[in-house]
């Protein structure tokens, strides 16, 4: 009876009210930022006295904003490619391998997911100071790859675990080379896992801020670092404009994932 929506009596309305309030609590700040980015008040007064595209203009006119967005995009793209390739090779080893300590290794590969990011950030910062990778593109890529790889291994290996290996063996019996069978039979079958690995890796890198704060140099910074540095000074509406563009990107990626799930799973 408590698990039947229509037999809850007045409790039903209490539950619905809390749920709708919680949903509003989660949703409204996101809408609020989007509305604010078109508001004409420099002091972020809401509702704004008028509407304007001025903040977007400032954002696009400022070379440093554009450069940091481009840097973020470059890093995230390289991280995505490396993360998927490394994740693929590793997942095949983890799912099909029979070597000693296989499960312990899998646990090790997933550890960066649960480690407080600030510890990794500080550790890599010290390490890169020693080896001279601080403030370089390679430093950014490596540190983001440490964070993205666990997601990639997780997505691809769970897809691979659901795949029946005898189909691949059948292709080999029909005359395909082992590599050909893997590329033409297995990879298409686990494509949804590869796709989520790619999206997760990209977003992990694109949104990452803690490690990036430590990696950044005056000449090389990612978009989140630029947002962070701006916010430490003031709450300018330019950040609202940047945030709105980030929110749009999120919605776009979510739609893409939903679409891909439909297409790849069918």
């Amino acid at each position: 009876m408590l698990l039947n929506f229509d037999r809850l009596g007045w409790w039903k309305y209490a539950l619905l009210t809390i749920t709708i309030l919680a949903a509003a609590f989660l949703l409204l700040p996101i809408f609020f930022i989007a509305a604010l980015s078109f508001g004409s008040s420099q002091w972020l007064i809401f509702p704004p006295p008028g509407w304007t595209l001025q903040w977007y203009g400032e954002l696009l006119a400022d070379r440093r904003w554009l450069e940091s967005a481009w840097t973020s995009f470059k890093i995230a793209s390289i991280v995505t490619v490396l993360s998927v390739l490394l994740g693929l090779v590793t997942s095949f080893g983890l799912v099909r391998g029979t070597f000693l300590f296989r499960d312990a290794l899998k646990a090790l590969f997933l550890t960066p997911m649960i480690l407080p990011v600030v510890v990794l950030a500080v550790a890599l910062y010290a390490f890169f100071l020693r080896v001279g990778l601080g403030g370089t593109l390679a430093g950014f890529v490596i540190s983001h790859l440490v964070l993205a790889l666990p997601f990639s291994i997780l997505s691809i290996s769970s897809a691979l675990e659901c795949f029946d290996k005898s189909i691949e063996d059948a292709a080999i019996l029909c005359g395909a080379s082992p590599l050909e069978a893997r590329i033409r039979v297995t990879l298409p079958a686990i494509s949804h896992g590869i796709f989520s690995a790619a999206v997760f890796s990209f977003l992990t890198s694109w949104d990452e801020v803690v490690v990036a704060i430590f990696m950044a140099s005056p000449t090389l910074q990612t978009l989140p670092v630029k947002v962070w540095a701006t916010l430490r000074q003031d709450l300018t509406p330019v950040v609202a404009a940047a945030s709105t563009l980030l929110i749009l990107l999120t919605i776009l990626l979510m739609a893409l994932v939903a679409l891909a799930r439909k297409v790849l799973k069918s």
Binding site: L2, L3, F5, L16, I18, T19, A22, A23, F25, L26, L27, P29, I30, F32, I33, L36, W43, F46, V89, T90, F92, G93, L94, V95, G97, T98, F99, L105, K106, F109, P112, I114, L115, P116, V117, V118, A121, V122, A123, A126, F127, I142, S143, L149, I153, K165, L203, D207, V209, V210, W228, L231, L235, V239, A240, S243, L246, I247, T250, L253
Partner: protein
């Protein structure tokens, strides 16, 4: 969790060749993780007992000074508050999600996902603006005549708690939803048939059945909160610094690697031991964190 392939399910002693089968595939990632994850973290922790002089001086200072103990206490207080509030809001929402009509549930799910996927900085910025003295929240409260003066809602404990709860809420709703969804409605029907009132059904049947899931979800949120850096430093004041900020400050502004390493080790030990507790006690539970 792991499903075994054909070769490893053979109960006979594993032939020598199979003990290394597939290992070459994990070598590149293993090398990468060893060089760029294990070595740097181990080096940082080592520095805590080597710099400025070998010994446990850094730990004595960290655990013996009132300033740092206050930061530890504050970290636990904020994480505890955030966990408690998330659980209070999250349980009814998860319960409603598990039984509401599918169409409505999928709208709520979409909102949960959108919020989770939206850039953390953007979400934190939203609260910075909403909670400021001239912000919308203060304006609304004053408009309703509830307060005469703007409340200080940001750069203090209130601000951090609101911002962190906002971020953690989806992380507790999703595992709780999974737990409630798995409960067999027949159990509650049986309780009702035996004459239990609605309240008794809730307190004696539904809540006890959901407790393992609640504990697992709460532990996950608590551990995640302990290590948060961005949101506390933007929404909190200097008076309520959290452990992650302390680590960053030791390294960035004080350039004290020994103390930074020591503080990092404390955070790491607390985090990992809580995860071990979670795996030990709720390993079979689906906690969403997997």
């Amino acid at each position: 969790m792991s499903t075994y392939s054909d070769a490893s399910s053979v109960s006979a002693p594993v032939p020598r060749a199979l003990r290394r089968a597939g290992f070459s595939g994990v070598v590149p990632a293993l090398a990468f993780v060893a060089i760029f994850f294990i070595v740097p973290v181990a080096a940082l922790l080592l520095r805590s007992v080597l710099e400025p002089v070998p010994g446990f001086g850094n730990y004595a200072e960290l655990l013996g000074s009132a300033t740092y103990l206050k930061i530890f206490a504050n970290t636990f207080i904020v994480s505890g508050l955030v966990t408690a509030i998330s659980l209070l809001i999250g349980f009814p929402v998860a319960w409603a999600l598990a039984i509401m009509p599918g169409r409505l549930a999928s709208v709520i799910f979409a909102i949960l996902l959108l919020s989770m996927w939206t850039n953390l900085l953007a979400r934190t910025y939203a609260w910075m603006v909403l909670l400021q003295r001239t912000g919308l929240i203060n304006k609304m409260l004053m408009g309703m005549g509830l307060i005469n003066q703007p409340l200080p809602l940001v750069n203090n404990l209130t601000g951090v708690t609101i911002g962190m709860t906002y971020i953690m809420l989806p992380f507790i709703i999703l595992p709780l939803y999974g737990v409630i969804k798995k409960i067999d409605p027949a159990i509650l029907q049986a309780a009702a048939l035996c004459g239990a009132s609605r309240r008794q059904c809730l307190t004696r049947v539904l809540l006890p059945l959901a407790v393992p899931g609640m504990a697992a979800g709460a532990l996950l949120v608590f551990v995640m909160s302990l290590g948060y850096f961005v949101t506390p430093s933007l929404l909190g004041g200097t008076a309520n610094m959290m452990l992650a900020e302390l680590i960053a400050q030791f390294v960035q502004s004080l350039v004290n690697w020994g103390m930074g390493g020591a503080a990092a080790l404390v955070l790491l030990v607390v985090t990992l031991s809580l995860y071990v507790v979670q795996l030990r006690f709720f390993g079979s539970q689906n906690t969403g964190g997997r």
